[in-house]
């Protein structure tokens, strides 16, 4: 009854390394939660528009006027590694 989650694939998408214990535990717990969630299938939703926002607003924008941004020192303030005013990451081989 409980849904089987392809936990490896999901963890891959979420970019989180899970231990074997976590995988097992989460699979079971999330299977239970999904089982609960499956009761949504009982609801007749035909003709119902999906609701993305609590308040129906549209065309919320600002005019195109540039304002001051963050000084570079503030950009780098919380950076784990930086060099030449840029964020340093392990070398990307694309």
């Amino acid at each position: 009854m409980a849904e089987e989650i392809d936990i490896d694939r999901v963890a891959q998408l979420a970019r989180i390394a899970l231990t074997p214990e976590e995988k097992q535990k989460f699979s079971r717990q999330l299977g239970d939660v999904l089982h609960h969630i499956h009761q949504l299938e009982q609801v007749d939703v035909s003709g119902i528009e999906p609701m993305s926002h609590a308040q129906p607003l549209a065309n919320v924008w600002q005019e195109d006027v540039a304002r001051a941004g963050l000084p570079v020192a503030e950009v780098l303030r919380n950076a784990p590694a930086h060099r030449s005013n840029m964020i340093s990451v392990p070398k990307i081989i694309d």
Partner: protein
Amino acid sequence: MANYEAVIGLEVHVQIRTHSKMFTRVATGYGQPENTLTDPTVLALPGALPVMNRAALDAIIKAGLMLGCEIAPVCKWDRKNYFYPDSPKNYQISQYDQPICLGGAVEIELPGPARNLMGEHKLIPLTRIHLEEDVGKCSHGATDSLVDYNRAGTPLMEIVSEPALHSGEEAYAYLTALRAAIVQGGISDCDMEKGQMRCDANISIRPVGATGLGTKVELKNLNSISYVRAGIDHEIKRQVALIESGGTIVQETRDYDGLTGASQSLRTKEMAHDYRYFPDPDLMPVQVDEAWKARLRASCPELPFDRQRRYFRDYELPYTLTSVLIWDRPLAEYFEAAVKAGGAAGKARAQQIGNWIANDLLRELKAGGAAGAEGTGGAGGLALAEVKMRPEHIAELVELVESGKLLGPAAKEVFAQTFASGEAPLAVAERAGLLAQPTDSGDLEAWCREAIANNAKAAAEFRAGKESAINGLKGPVMKAARGKANPREVDETLRRLLAE
């Protein structure tokens, strides 16, 4: 090759020229010091939120209207989730299933049989145009990669064509026409060297006559229009050769190197992306009403080929001349202003006006200044707006020439002076004594008789029917008149005397 046809679809990304970013109001820019164009939203700091840039919406709707797209009455924002260091939120705000522009087409012209002959025109249908945000830039050092977020969040529109192109040449023509429309609409400068316009091509081949699509290969990093043409043709040849040697095409992404003319595989799509698109809860939908569209429609310029057809119809301009004018909106508008300044005669003299602009004015523009100017066939140097010579000056110059008051060499001199100073042509000609003198008819007749007598051979040839021989007589007359005789009178007098 003869047995295969290529099917090509292009995805073109164009940065919209705005002052501030797509979803926050920090400035956009190119070539600024690293990480100086960021704020909490660009950097995706905890708690930062996006707010749309109205000007970017205006720009994409305008592009859609120019290209004949249907503008969706309602469109929304979706998150495209994937991890990459140049993407600060690790999702890109984009439009998935409700893009703002649907359909539309780009009219292209293929090369004609000769440079002065018009080529075939085709309409390349568009699938959609949607709005999204650009990512930052990674550069690679010896041991690490460095990320600069200045570009991140720049408004970016993606123009997706139907798979309706069949060669590198067609792709070249498509990008040329698309770029001209976007540049002339004031939407972007489309400078590919600055990454303002980028192109990916999806290429497959199939046996001629087949209707299905073959396995497609995505070609990336095509950073000039010429590279797009060369890269596509290279890829078509590669696929044909592969199939003919018994191989199969693998769905993959390949990188084309314009300098070496070779491509290499970046990645195969064994594991398809799962972007987990869903509506962005931080942003509200966009509703576009008729009034908004009408306002933008009023600001849309005429497309180049529409302009060209009008020039054929209204001014009977030759193809080569229209081809110079239509790709550069300021130049075409300058031309039209000059024609208008010429009044009733201006329309009849449109070709002469056009020639002065296409030859003399463009030459001066290219020679002057270093600033980049708009247009593909246009001025590479000085911008038209900075030029002191105004359209009405061109009209006046042509009027002086056509009425015989200004002769060829003198007209060139007047042009040079007006271009340099902005002084009106007539005033220049008068001040510099360059106007053709009203000659005494007795003197003129005497000079002509003398020329005929001294050049019996030319006179005989003319009388025998060789029309061009008369030119051999005009030279001596003009020399005797020290260059100030009215050429039309010289011509008439010579003909009269030769006919005696």
